[in-house]
């Protein structure tokens, strides 16, 4: 089996020749490992693609997650000024936004942001008609160039798509909703006006569904749905059922109809909603933070997942990879491989993204582990 076939077998709940290894990496980690300018890595599709390809090779991963897409080929025209500060390179954009690019994190945005609208002020007719941004974190959007929505995916599929599993990424309707209203007001809106909240969520679900279906035609093997705020650190299982699951289900079904796998990524404590997550029709679940960051024990999760979908994750990027000894990492990986191998449908991965300061040799221990025990 090559890497692509290996990951596919796991996602199809069949038995691969060994447990596949595929971690998602934080932007900060990639910047730490690559000899690139953080500004170029953020804006330039070719630099981003080269970085992902090069890190896959370094780490021996069986696949590549393309976490951003829609790079503007003429991004340099958007920049009016570049300078330096002690926090990193400072870039001022035509729209007045100032961004500071350190080499171990996402860019920081210093913008005169318009106040977020209250729920009552939102007119459903005025919601965007197409998605031209990815809400990366609070205040930080990645603009999707409509003329080059999937250029970076095309490049990577062309260069590595025959041999490796290539995954795209979209963001959950719940994230777009919280981004629209602000996180605090967005969470209160779920109680203040449930029906209007659901209408907004449905609107975003439609737009994301269109984007995802289009993404399926690029030749990718799977799409990750990033939904970091749907865990029990934020909302109850009942709210998950009402405000998250139906909208992620709609997207999952459309992606599956295209013959592409789809998996949900929700951080933190999700033990109480694993079944609900699988009930969305997603073909897998990613992350599954173990204690202390989350509350998912792999053995229990594999039982719940049995025959429903695959699991990707469960290695603690901070407490194991960043702070643990080599012995901790190897033993953690071995335990997970043995549990995952028994049931099948398991991809070894960090739960959340590889943290910025995790050393390269620590990640290579995961590769050794899958080769030895996988």
């Amino acid at each position: 089996m090559n890497s692509k076939e290996r990951v596919k077998a796991a996602m199809d709940l069949k038995t691969p020749d060994r447990v596949p290894l595929m971690c998602q990496m934080s932007i900060g980690h990639m910047l730490q490992q690559l000899p690139v300018s953080p500004v170029e890595f953020w804006f330039d599709g070719d630099t981003f693609a080269e970085g992902l390809l090069s890190l896959r090779e370094i780490y021996g991963f069986d696949g590549i997650l393309i976490s951003l897409h829609g790079h503007d080929p003429n991004w340099r025209n958007q920049i009016v000024e570049r300078g330096n500060s002690e926090d990193g390179e400072v870039v001022r954009l035509k729209d007045g936004t100032t961004m500071i690019f350190g080499n171990d994190d996402l860019p920081q945005v210093d913008m005169q942001e318009a106040p977020k609208p209250g729920l009552a002020e939102i007119n459903l007719e005025d919601l965007p008609k197409s998605l031209d941004y990815i809400p990366v974190s609070q205040g930080l959007h990645f603009r999707i160039d409509p003329r080059n929505k999937f250029g970076v995916i095309d490049t990577i599929v062309k260069r590595a798509g025959k041999e490796y599993s290539i995954h795209g990424e979209i963001t959950s309707p719940f994230d777009y909703f919280l981004d629209l209203l602000g996180h605090q007001d967005g969470l209160m809106a779920l109680i203040d006006d449930r029906e209007k909240s659901k209408k907004i969520l449905a609107h975003f679900a439609g737009l994301i569904e269109d984007l995802a279906v289009e993404m399926c035609d690029t030749g990718i093997d799977a799409i990750k749905v990033s939904s970091p705020f749907a865990g029990s650190g934020f909302i109850s299982p009942a709210f998950y059922r009402e405000f998250v699951a139906p909208f992620e289900a709609r997207i999952s079904h459309s992606i599956r109809k295209k013959g592409v796998h789809v998996y949900l990524h929700t951080c933190g404590a999700v033990r109480d909603r694993l079944e609900l997550m699988f009930d969305t029709g997603a073909s897998g679940i990613e992350c599954l933070d173990p204690p202390p960051l989350g509350n998912v024990e792999l053995e229990e999760a594999m039982k719940i997942a049995s025959k429903k979908g695959f699991i990707k994750g469960n290695v603690d990027s901070v407490n194991t990879l960043l702070l643990g000894t080599d012995g901790d990492i190897t033993s953690d990986a071995k335990d997970r491989i043995e549990i995952g191998k028994k049931v099948g449908g398991f991809i070894l991965s960090t739960a959340c993204s590889i943290a910025p300061r995790v050393k390269r040799e620590k990640i290579l221990l995961l590769k050794e582990a899958v080769e030895r025990w996988g």
């Binding site: 605090q184 969470l187 209160m188 109680i191 203040d192 029990s232 650190g233 109850s236 709210f239």
Partner: protein, 127 residues
């Protein structure tokens, strides 16, 4: 309706995150000459205490905590201008000590205390 029942209703409004009701009940208690500190101690804080325990035990989640906090803030906006500031005084201490511990002011005697409190309350009402 007795005062203790009204405190219970205020606590209930905070727990349920009903901010308009919490504001109305707070204003009513003030109209009934209940001291702001008593409203805080017997109505608002017991409500938030329940919210904190329910959150700790995973019976409620962030959205419910946030609407309760909003209800508490609504009440506090009414109470704050009326809360009696902490001032200190007497021979063994001075203005510098008052500043160091974050007191609202320093006075030398009871008469100055009354004068200073009146001034602070009227300034807060103007704000």
């Amino acid at each position: 309706m007795g005062i203790s029942e009204e405190f219970g209703m205020l606590a209930g409004a905070v727990i349920a995150g009903k901010h308009v009701e919490a504001g109305d009940l707070t204003a009513k208690l003030i109209d009934e000459s209940v001291l702001p500190g008593e409203i805080l101690e017997k109505g608002i804080l017991p409500g938030m205490d329940v919210v904190g325990r329910r959150f700790r035990d995973n019976h409620i989640f962030l959205p419910q905590v946030l609407i309760s906090a909003r209800a508490m803030k609504t009440s506090m906006r009414i109470l704050e201008p009326l809360m009696v500031p902490i001032i200190i005084g007497g021979a063994p201490i001075n203005q510098k000590f008052a500043d160091d511990i974050g007191a609202a002011g320093y006075v030398r005697n009871a008469a100055e205390a009354v004068e200073l409190i009146t001034k602070i309350i009227s300034e807060r009402k103007e704000d």
